[in-house]
């Protein structure tokens, strides 16, 4: 099957001063990332803050242009931003992110916000839009009377549902969900996760699901990519990666998830903080925190290599570690 979305060797470099690392040095937020999402499938992206997950999501949506590499949607390059073709593509792809209050206009009612994309894209008559609103609210499990409320009059879970209703209004083929449940309580998180799974099953939507919550990603994703400092260090079938991660960083990340009862992976506690992305260590960027690093890792950057089970791992010791894990 041709992928719905494909990123090939995509890089994005920020030169702006920003936050702590305001030195003016370029930051490779996303570095040679390749990934694919097929219709009806979910790709999870995990990794610690600053590793480039959100940037990868914005590149996938064409909200940002890569400095190098290519992004293809339905087998064709993305349209140039601002053009009519680009706007038409926007309706096909939607972004859902963590902070629903930040994503909404406080002055508009829920109905106005949900219908906004239809108005922008000139879809349907006024009557058709009202009907669509009712369907959308029902699909995301919001009571019809909430339509006339303003965002601050809803609970966090209801706001996230409203944001989803808006994202679904144009019947998109691809949803990029950037930490969509991170701010929600467990019981509400479960409601939203179930809803996303149901919507995907009913509509065949492709999803990129970005989260630092590995258990949620494991549940919702078919495939998963683990990022470290702008690169994908391990990618493969979600259950396989979480059951037996190969890359030492992926192992540390998975083993760090607190669990009740016996753990399957021995806890690996990494020393040190993630490095400053503006000062990427030479060789394998993970080597300063890696307990398994060899001399070679300090100088030679490992490529993402496909292993015997189809998984891709960027580690000089991947073959050896995969055999040990199996």
């Amino acid at each position: 099957m041709t992928p719905l979305l494909e990123m090939q060797g995509v890089s994005r470099v920020y030169r702006a001063r920003r936050g702590l690392f305001g030195t003016g040095t370029p930051v490779r937020a996303v570095d040679h990332v390749s990934l694919q999402v097929a219709p009806g499938r979910t790709l999870g992206i995990v990794g610690e803050s600053g590793c480039g997950k959100s940037t990868a999501g914005r590149l996938a949506l064409g909200l940002e242009r890569p400095d190098s590499g290519a992004v293809q949607f339905r087998g064709a390059p993305m349209a140039a931003p601002g053009t009519a073709a680009w706007r038409a593509e926007r309706a096909q792809m939607q972004l859902v992110f963590q902070d629903p209050l930040g994503a909404m206009d406080r002055r508009l009612t829920i109905a106005q916000q949900v219908l906004e994309p239809l108005e922008i894209h000139g879809i349907g008559t006024a009557a058709e839009r009202r009907e669509r609103l009712a369907t959308l609210l029902r699909d995301v499990g919001l009571r019809a009377d909430l339509a006339e409320r303003h965002p601050h009059q809803l609970s966090g879970g209801q706001r996230q549902r409203a944001v989803l209703a808006r994202a679904l209004a144009t019947d998109p083929a691809l949803l990029v969900c950037d930490e969509p449940v991170s701010a929600l309580d467990v019981s509400i998180q479960a409601q939203i996760v179930n809803m996303l799974t149901d919507l995907q099953a009913a509509r065949g939507i492709a999803m990129i699901f970005i989260s630092h919550d590995l258990a949620v990603v494991r549940l919702i994703s078919h495939e998963v990519a683990v990022m470290y400092l702008g690169r994908i260090v391990e990618q493969g079938e979600a259950e396989a990666v979480f059951a037996a991660p190969i890359h030492p960083y992926a192992r540390a990340l998975v083993s760090a998830v607190p669990v009740s009862g016996p753990r399957r992976l021995e806890r690996i506690v990494l020393s040190g903080d993630p490095p400053n992305p503006a000062q990427r260590p030479p060789g394998c960027a993970f080597h300063p925190r890696c307990a398994l690093a060899l001399a070679r890792c300090r100088t030679e950057d490992p490529d993402l290599v496909t292993q015997s089970d189809g998984r891709m791992v960027a580690c000089h010791r991947a073959g050896e570690l995969a055999r040990a894990a199996a």
Partner: protein, 315 residues
């Protein structure tokens, strides 16, 4: 185990709304006990009230005994001695507890002066020792840094060093790793476990993450609607949850192992203090509720050895 803190019928009102509705909870010397529950259920307010840290508009009743001495209504001089001395508290956001304009080392020496009467070279040496103890690399140099020059994980270590300055008998850690990345969270939890073993202090770990509490604590209290609704040894709570809310919380969490299953969501949302239901606060979301649940608040009662639940049907 000998009792250290004993909370009885603790109630807190804000602007006429009861946020805590009768909390009973004990902490023994040296134990690690977890407090879980979704946001707004009263985890933080319980300990802020116990330590006299709530704003003046809060009306507090009940009893909080530390080693047989009542803390509620105690004179400020006595509370100052308790806070940071016998009981220290750390929070999710170290930035809120650290002073941005002072070097981190100075904040620790200040705590040492306040709680242990240490000054000058002795305080500086002790601050360095504490920085080493909490695993801040290159402690001699980092002591001179400002909070904004350190990462979130390093600032959390500084806050822990400050908390340790008074050699507390109890450390209240309120969501200490919630703002941190997974691998840094693992480091901080490891540190707390090690410090607890080395110093023998008791630990109350407040978290919305059941996994964090499971890994760190031997006993767990579950809060809902301003009350403890279940309390048990960690293994019992996870293996045999008695309260439908606890059961719901466990079923709503995705697992890291085993077959992937559909999550069991709990319907509805957490009630707000101004619209608490008359009986059991969980009744409107409960799948096994009966008429009795709406009529009266179920008391926390023993359902097995060391296991209590506030549900008519538990046990």
């Amino acid at each position: 185990m000998a009792g250290l803190v004993s909370i009885r019928n603790l109630r807190v009102r804000f602007d006429g709304n009861e946020a805590l509705r009768g909390v009973d909870f004990d902490v023994a010397r040296g134990e690690a006990v977890g407090l879980v529950g979704e946001s707004g259920c009263g985890k933080s307010v319980t300990w802020l009230a116990a330590l006299g840290l709530l704003p003046g508009k809060a009306t507090i009743t009940g009893s909080v005994m530390l080693d047989g001495h009542e803390l509620l209504g105690a004179p400020a001089s006595q509370l100052d001695h308790v806070r940071g001395g016998r009981i220290a508290m750390i929070f999710q956001d170290p930035a809120s507890a650290l002073n941005p304009v002072h070097r981190v080392g100075r904040q620790v020496t200040e705590a040492l002066r306040l709680h242990r009467g240490m000054d000058g070279a002795a305080a500086r040496a002790e601050a360095r020792r504490l920085f080493d103890l909490v695993g801040i690399p290159d402690a001699g140099r980092r002591i001179e840094a400002y909070p904004h020059e350190m990462s979130g994980g390093q600032n959390q270590r500084v806050m822990i060093a400050m908390a340790l300055a008074g050699q507390p008998e109890l450390l209240i850690a309120d969501e200490p790793t919630t703002a941190l990345d997974a691998t840094i969270q693992a480091q901080i939890l490891d540190l707390l476990r090690r410090l607890q073993a080395e110093t023998g202090m008791a630990l109350v770990l407040i978290s919305h993450d059941l996994g964090v509490v499971a890994e760190m604590c031997t006993r767990v209290g579950v809060m809902y609607g301003g009350r403890i609704i279940e309390e048990a040894a960690e293994a019992d709570l996870f293996a045999r949850p008695g309260h439908p809310y606890t059961q719901g919380l466990l079923a709503a969490r995705p697992d890291m192992a085993g077959p992937r299953r559909r999550l069991e969501a709990i319907n509805g949302g957490v009630p707000e203090p101004w619209n608490f239901p008359p009986g059991c606060a969980f009744a409107p979301r409960c799948t096994v509720m009966t008429a009795a649940c709406d009529a009266e608040v179920p008391a926390l009662h023993t359902i097995a050895t060391g296991h209590r639940a506030a549900c008519w049907r538990a046990g």
